[in-house]
């Protein structure tokens, strides 16, 4: 079965124009100057057949369940450490581990309400998880609005193909927030403001879920209860905060004192169970590069199941066996600095000169705990329309998993591709573009 894409490719300019009008942008800081860029949309969707998707969905649900169990365990009894599955230094020296979250029990035991799992499909047809994003994963709004506009521009495409609906993301989000809120008050989306790189997404999700979009300074805590004060200066109790502000800025009373984005004493209200924070603070300990290695082990440990999804083959020089392997095969591996975030501190062995390679080796010998090494995955190229020509580019997939009372996978996702033919970097700030992701019945 094939997908007819002629009408879609013809509609490309119209769709991109509409997205521009809707303000589908992301902001980039370069040399201290804030610029907004359009996020180029490629009209050819990534197709995932229903059978393949069912497999991914099962695997994603399993993985996120295990990650939530891990977070609960780390901030409570720490059994996975006592049982010797994860060494304590990997947990406690992670920047994402927050002692301030010890013994706090979030509503329903959920920490990663919104998980963005980054996957790639290898040339061998296997899917690999590259990264778990459990703090503030962004990007769902782009395929949502792209679908909405494409449906309008090219309605017949969706009558001839059985594409799974993706505009239900807002429902998944709202239901989850309602469950976490537990009728304590209103649900809000807290944005740092319009100079945040994902501001479009914040406002779009607020509009679609019906949550109130709130800005720093509009929330405050009194008598250990969080209130929203709107333009009329009335006060409304808040039951759930989907916050797009990072952990360290959330509460100036215990984290970064200079933060103007946070809500003083909100962590106390959260600890007392008077408000839900979505996602929970402290999740960084579970999506740390060093912890990634242990995720398949978590699945076995907590769920007593075989992991459905696999990691990219990863080695931890911390373990003697891996240490020897990494030093011997460093040329073909990609080495990552655990303490660096984003694309920083990532080195491909094959790109290094002899002396640089020796230097990297000596760094690994000195501090084995600081590094992980991975096999370079040869991932599948996707077709994109460049001008009037189809070309092949590297692409990944961010799948979104929503956990409230249940764990659900959104039947779509953000497919990002690199516009540079030689690059493996699909990050949007590097000028990459995105595609809609279709789950289609075979």
């Amino acid at each position: 079965m094939s997908i007819k894409i002629k009408e879609l490719t013809e509609s490309r300019n119209t769709v991109n124009k509409w997205m521009e009008r809707y303000g589908v942008r992301f902001g980039v800081y370069k040399n201290g100057v804030f610029n907004e860029q359009l996020f180029p949309f490629d009209p050819v969707p990534r197709i995932i057949w229903k059978d393949d998707w069912d497999y991914l969905e099962q695997g994603l649900r399993q993985r996120v369940k295990a990650l939530n169990r891990f977070l609960w365990d780390i901030y409570h009894d720490k059994e996975i450490i006592t049982d010797g599955i994860v060494p304590e230094e990997f947990v406690y020296s992670s920047k994402g581990y927050l002692p301030e979250c010890e013994q706090i029990s979030p509503t329903g035991g959920v920490y990663a309400h919104i998980a963005g799992i980054d996957l790639v499909e290898g040339k061998d047809g296997q899917w690999y998880v590259l990264e778990d994003n459990l703090r503030i994963p962004s990007g769902a709004s782009y395929p949502m609005i792209a679908r909405e506009i494409t449906r309008r521009v090219s309605p017949s495409t969706f009558t001839t193909h059985a594409v799974a609906e993706n505009r239900d993301y807002a429902d998944l989000l709202r239901d989850m927030m309602d469950e976490m809120n537990d009728n304590r008050g209103i649900s809000v989306i807290l944005t740092p403001g319009r100079y945040n790189s994902a501001y479009f997404e914040h406002s779009y999700l607020a509009e679609k879920t019906g949550a109130t979009l709130v800005y720093p300074g509009e929330l405050f805590v009194e008598d250990n209860i969080v209130y929203y004060t709107g333009i009329n200066k009335e006060r409304t109790r808040v039951g759930c905060i989907y916050r797009r502000v990072s952990d360290e800025y959330m509460d100036p009373m215990i984290f970064e004192a200079s933060s103007l984005l946070g809500i003083p004493n909100v962590m106390q209200a959260y600890k007392a169970g008077n408000v839900a924070l979505v996602n929970a603070p402290g999740n960084g300990v579970a999506d740390d590069k060093g912890i990634y290695y242990f995720v398949p082990k978590m699945v076995e440990y907590y769920l007593d199941e075989k992991p459905i999804l696999q990691n990219a083959p990863t080695y931890l020089p911390y373990f003697k066996e891996d240490y020897d392997f990494v030093l011997k095969n460093i040329r073909r591996l990609v080495v990552k600095d655990v303490s660096e975030a984003g694309g920083y501190g990532v080195v491909f062995g094959k790109d290094l000169q002899e002396d640089e390679l020796e230097k990297l080796k000596s760094l690994i010998i000195e501090q084995p705990r600081r590094w992980i090494a991975q096999e370079v995955i040869d991932f599948k190229d996707l077709e994109i329309l460049e001008g009037n020509e189809f070309v092949e580019r590297k692409a990944d997939l961010r799948a979104f998993v929503i956990s409230g009372k249940e764990t659900k996978v959104w039947r779509s996702g953000l497919t990002r591709f690199s516009r540079n033919p030689d690059s493996f970097v699909v990050n949007s700030s590097q000028g990459g573009g995105f595609k809609d992701t279709w789950v289609v019945k075979n």
Binding site: E88, E89, Y92, S93, L98, P99, E100, C101, E102, G217, F220, V221, E222, D223, N224, P252, M253, I254, A257, P264, N265, Q268, K271
Partner: protein, 257 residues
């Protein structure tokens, strides 16, 4: 056993009314193996709603906010505390936190060299040696550092106040893989809060005061709170909305009964 009457008083005045003044206080003595509270009272400005709790490090906290705009915030924490020999057992909790550098206790190569100790010594002997070393290296000089001065800068300048002495000793201990933590509290005869260090020997925490070259504190120190460094356990922290200039007046007395 010794008994002390303590009194900690703070008056914060604002040059104009501020709204939503939020506070977090660690102004009550800790309850632990060597300290018992016989009586305690905290009195704060009316119009503030304060709740009690504990922080991430097990310290007692009072937190809350003003119900309406304020020009002054005042509070007094007073009571009677009795102390035994300064020893604290570790039950549960996470020692690892106190073994690695924190924001204000980062270490560099020169500091590592200055912190080197004879490997045959026990952790307590090493801590004694390091306490002594910090005392001899430093010159007590108020107003040369701020509340945010990291140990590396203190090491370079070799002067500061009790907080800086404590940070430097903590950095040195951690460089030797000895868990160490920062303590805030009262010391007889100083008229202000004091800072010192607790070192973990594998079973118990013991006190060291590098500012006074005092190894293995016995008595005379009343502990309020501890943390990885001073930023974890300030006696008070506040936030408000407004442009006001804030002035703080603190008065501490500790008197043996």
């Amino acid at each position: 056993m010794k008994r002390y009457l303590y009194n900690y008083q703070t008056i914060v005045t604002f040059s104009e009314a501020v709204s939503r003044h939020a506070v977090m206080l660690r102004c009550q003595p800790a309850v632990n193996d060597f300290q018992t509270i016989e009586q305690e009272h905290v009195v704060a400005s009316p119009d503030y709603s304060l709740s009690t709790g504990t922080d991430a490090f097990g310290n007692r906290i009072l937190f809350g906010s003003a119900r309406k705009p304020q020009t002054v915030f005042a509070y007094v924490s007073t009571g009677i505390v009795s102390t035994e020999t300064y020893l604290q057992k570790q039950c549960g909790g996470n020692i690892f936190l106190y073994r690695q550098p924190s924001r204000l206790t980062g270490i560099n190569e020169a500091m590592k060299a200055a912190a080197a100790t004879d490997p045959s010594m026990t952790p307590v002997e090493k801590a004694e040696e390091l306490c002594h070393r910090v005392f001899n290296m430093m010159k007590y000089q108020p107003e040369t550092t701020t509340v945010d001065t990291p140990a590396s800068e203190v090491f370079a300048r070799q002067c500061g106040v009790c907080q800086d002495y404590a940070h430097l000793m903590i950095a040195f201990c951690r460089a030797n893989d000895i868990p160490a933590r920062y303590v805030n509290g009262f010391l007889e005869g100083t008229g202000q809060t004091h800072a010192w260090v607790e070192v973990f020997d594998g079973y118990i925490w013991q006190g060291f005061d590098p500012t006074h070259d005092c190894e293995l504190i016995q008595q005379g120190y009343v502990k309020l709170a501890h943390g990885r460094d001073s930023a974890d356990c300030p006696v008070s922290r506040g936030m408000f909305c407004g442009q006001a200039v804030q002035q703080t007046q603190i008065n501490v007395t500790l008197q043996e009964l």
